[in-house]
């Protein structure tokens, strides 16, 4: 399999901070795979997404996406599709669903040009694929949170990107909305051969659709299939065990804090999770 995303020896710190927000990240993502990126709040997940989008520059190391720098990949308009963490609430924004989906073609089309008929037809064809064909002429301000999330996914997919970056896509969706979202995303992924990076601290959602999970907390602590995710690492990162998060079969609706307070007995042992003694993060390759 070809490597689509190659992150090598990446460090990043914000100008106002002395400590590194991300350190020694080595990560490769193969084409067609789904990587779930998990970690507690402030672990650097969204920062890593911003680096992949070229909105931030690494302090050290490099990122290559389809053999381009992130900025070049973004400029091409058809390599990366992106769903933001907090999409705007478009009250009274004067466009309809169809126009919003077509906005996804803006970067690919370029300045002073109109989108090709083929691209427009593909963008329009996404509406039935994500189950919103009946809303094509609906003003975007009339959409529910779940409907808007689907429309924004369609916008991200409109330029037929190779890589889809989803930053907390299930936040704000109820459980049926999440299920529907994951099902339609799985279907689209198979149809379009997409590579997906799915950022969330909702382990249930991540494990439901990811081939691999990467645990991030400033550095990369784990990168493997969801089945091998060590309970100790989850406990350490989220103060909550796997069963409480609905993974490994058990479904329990209690919150992490409740679970933590009740004393699940899981100890924060993490022998295989520590970065190697020389301080480097796990060098992770999608292939395992």
């Amino acid at each position: 399999m070809n490597t689509l995303v190659d992150i090598s020896n990446l460090d990043f710190s914000y100008p106002s901070q002395r400590t590194l927000t991300l350190r020694h990240i080595d990560l490769r993502i193969e084409q067609g795979r789904v990587l779930g990126l998990i970690g507690p709040n402030g672990s650097g997940k969204t920062t890593l997404i911003k680096l992949l989008l070229g909105l931030l520059e690494p302090s050290n190391g490099s990122i290559r996406i389809d053999n381009h720098s992130p900025r070049d990949a973004v400029k091409r308009g058809n390599i990366i599709g992106y769903l933001p963490q907090n999409p705007p609430l478009p009250v009274n924004f004067p466009i309809n669903v169809k126009q919003l989906v077509r906005l996804g073609l803006t970067g690919k089309t370029g300045l002073f040009r109109s989108a090709s008929k083929g691209d427009l037809a593909f963008a329009d064809s996404l509406l039935p694929r994500i189950g919103i064909e009946g809303l094509a002429e609906t003003p975007v301000g009339d959409l529910s949170g779940g409907q808007l999330q689907r429309v924004l996914i369609a916008r991200a997919l409109a330029p037929r990107p190779k890589l889809l970056l989803l930053d907390e896509p299930t936040t704000g969706l109820d459980s049926s909305g999440q299920k529907m979202f994951i099902e339609s995303l799985q279907q689209l992924r198979q149809e379009l051969g997409l590579t997906v990076v799915f950022v969330s601290h909702d382990l249930r959602a991540v494990s439901a659709m990811s081939d691999r999970i990467a645990c991030l907390n400033a550095t990369l602590h784990y990168h493997d299939t969801p089945d091998h995710l060590p309970a100790e690492l989850v406990y350490e990162m989220f103060s909550c065990d796997l069963e409480a998060m609905g993974i490994k079969g058990a479904v329990n609706e209690c919150t992490c804090d409740e679970q933590h307070d009740s004393g699940t007995g899981a100890s924060p042992v993490h022998s295989r999770l520590e970065p190697p003694a020389h301080g480097r993060g796990a060098h992770a390759t999608e292939g395992g």
Binding site: L53, G54, L55, V74, K75, R76, G77, I80, G81, Y82, P84, P87, P88, P90, N92, F93, P94, I95, N96, Q99, L100, L103, G104, T106, G107, K108, T109, L111, F112, P139, G141, A156, P159
Partner: protein, 284 residues
């Protein structure tokens, strides 16, 4: 129709057209404060020329003062664009800093000028409240050309502007040249305000950039219809204000335009309220 009326008509219609094409992005990006910031920067630019005129009397001329206004507006627009593009300062704060700084500079310069030369500096009243007297054909032609440039640029960048207004970060992340749109919009605003301060003054310029867009967005939720309504209401306000000034000379053109625009806004607002109440009553 006198030549002066023709020049005035050409200038206000040009201004109204340019304002209309920028008004919808200004409303959607919540940049209502921006007209204030950039137009008051013109006051600061004029202040620098007034201070220089004390030392170099040769430049104490309306044309030199207007050059100061142009440079002040453009530099401030670029400054606001740079500061607001970086996430560390939000747009409102950036505009506020420029607004108070340039106002203070203008008032200090005026005070020093009056103390030194014992008369009001050129353009002082015109800059604050607008002035249509002695409007030249050259000015009307320049207004027409600037308006054409603003309109054509805004039309050519329509899809990028919509993407940018909806969500600048996602637009940037999808390769939609959001930074370019951001800076271009700021420069177009500065150019439009440079025409507008002569007509409406720096105090009322904001109204011309905000009210037409608000009228458009409350009457429709389709982009092309919103733009058409915005342009129509802006031009109607400009012509209406000019005609009021012709009929009653005591009413200045700038405030008259603003009052006509506000009248249209109230009509649009209450009409939509009435219609939505009726629709609610009719629905089962």
């Amino acid at each position: 129709m006198t030549l002066h009326f023709f020049y005035s008509l050409l200038t206000v219609v040009s201004l109204a057209t340019a304002c209309a094409f920028l008004s919808v992005p200004v409303v959607l990006r919540r940049w209502a404060f921006i007209g204030e910031g950039i137009s008051h920067a013109g006051f600061g630019g004029a202040g620098v020329v007034w201070l220089l005129a004390i030392i170099f009397p040769g430049i104490d001329h309306p044309h030199a003062v207007y050059s100061g206004v142009v440079i002040g507006c453009l530099l401030t627009a670029i400054g606001i664009a740079i500061l607001s593009r970086r996430e560390r300062i939000n747009a409102d704060a950036a505009i506020g800093i420029f607004l108070v700084t340039t106002l203070a500079l203008g008032f200090i310069a005026r005070s020093v000028y009056v103390e030194s030369l014992h008369h009001e500096p050129a353009w002082f009243d015109s800059l604050l409240f607008g002035q249509m007297k002695n409007l030249s054909g050259d000015y009307a032609l320049a207004a027409c050309m600037i308006s054409a440039a603003v309109t054509i640029t805004a039309i050519l960048l329509t899809k990028e502007t919509i993407a940018y207004c909806f969500d600048p970060i996602t637009a940037q992340a999808s390769g939609a040249r959001a930074s370019l749109v951001h800076y271009v919009l700021m420069v177009l605003l500065a150019l439009t305000i440079i025409i507008g301060v002569r007509v409406a003054g720096s105090v009322l310029m904001t109204a011309l950039l905000v009210v037409p867009g608000v009228i458009g967005t409350i009457l429709s939720r389709k982009w092309n219809v919103v733009m058409a309504i915005t342009v129509a209401s802006s031009i109607l306000g400009a012509i209406g204000g000019l005609l009021i000034n012709v009929q009653w000379r005591v009413v200045p053109v700038g405030p008259a335009i603003v009052l006509v625009l506000v009248g249209q806004f109230l009509l649009a607002y209450f009409t939509t309220c009435l219609l939505s109440r009726r629709m609610r009553a009719m629905s089962p």
